[in-house]
Amino acid sequence: MKEKSKLQQQQHEEQTTVQHAAHKAGAREFQSAEEMMRFDAGQTRVPDSVKSRLADSLAREQKPEQSTSWWRRLLRG
């Protein structure tokens, strides 16, 4: 009886350890909504297609007129 109990206890401990590890891998506590969103934003990846589409669009656009930039106008007084 004692043998069985010890075995059961060992199995229970092993199972708990596995569950705890799995839990730890997928679980997290956040102190605020902002912290959670910051984490979520960090996990979010911008689709590559956005950049390639933007490149296509820019290729068709006329480059902004450099001489009209705010700092150039300031320098010209």
Partner: protein, 190 residues
Amino acid sequence: MADGLIEMETQRESPSRPTLEALAPEFAEFFQAHSRQIFYLCLRMLGDPTKAEDATHDVFLKAWRKLDQFRGESSWRTWIYRIAINHCRNLQQTWAERNIHAASDDAVMESAVSDGASPFRVLELKELGGRIEQAMEKLSPEYRLLLLLIADEEMSYVQVAELIEQSTDAVRGKLHRARKAFAIEFQKTA
């Protein structure tokens, strides 16, 4: 939306397709520095990855077209956020989504148990985005925007106040209510 439609035909891959770095190296750096936050803002404001993708493209294209209008009076981050916020608001108006949930915020608050300050325990991180999405959908666009901007570590209260055209005191007050409303809605997603 019209800007998004303009680019629909550009999806074909071509070996001679120019890269953003080759076309405009500095603008490519600008895109690299801010695109994640802008995409995330669009994603959570619009609640749809495809719409967010189109919106992010359109926002940066607008920025490119307006580069000469940047006066250096605000940070680049604030500047691109302003373009993104206006773009998302226009889309929301177009879809008649604006203010659809606004009236529900107070009702939610009346039955509130959470004070918005309790920690959020998330057991499955892979579900986090979906749960945030669900909770955000129940908030007014104003609360959604406020939480998203405050979540950006690069943004100060003063910058956020400037972007949403409110005083910093008003931002703090609304943020308190927004956190509380979010906490209640987030708990419901468990």
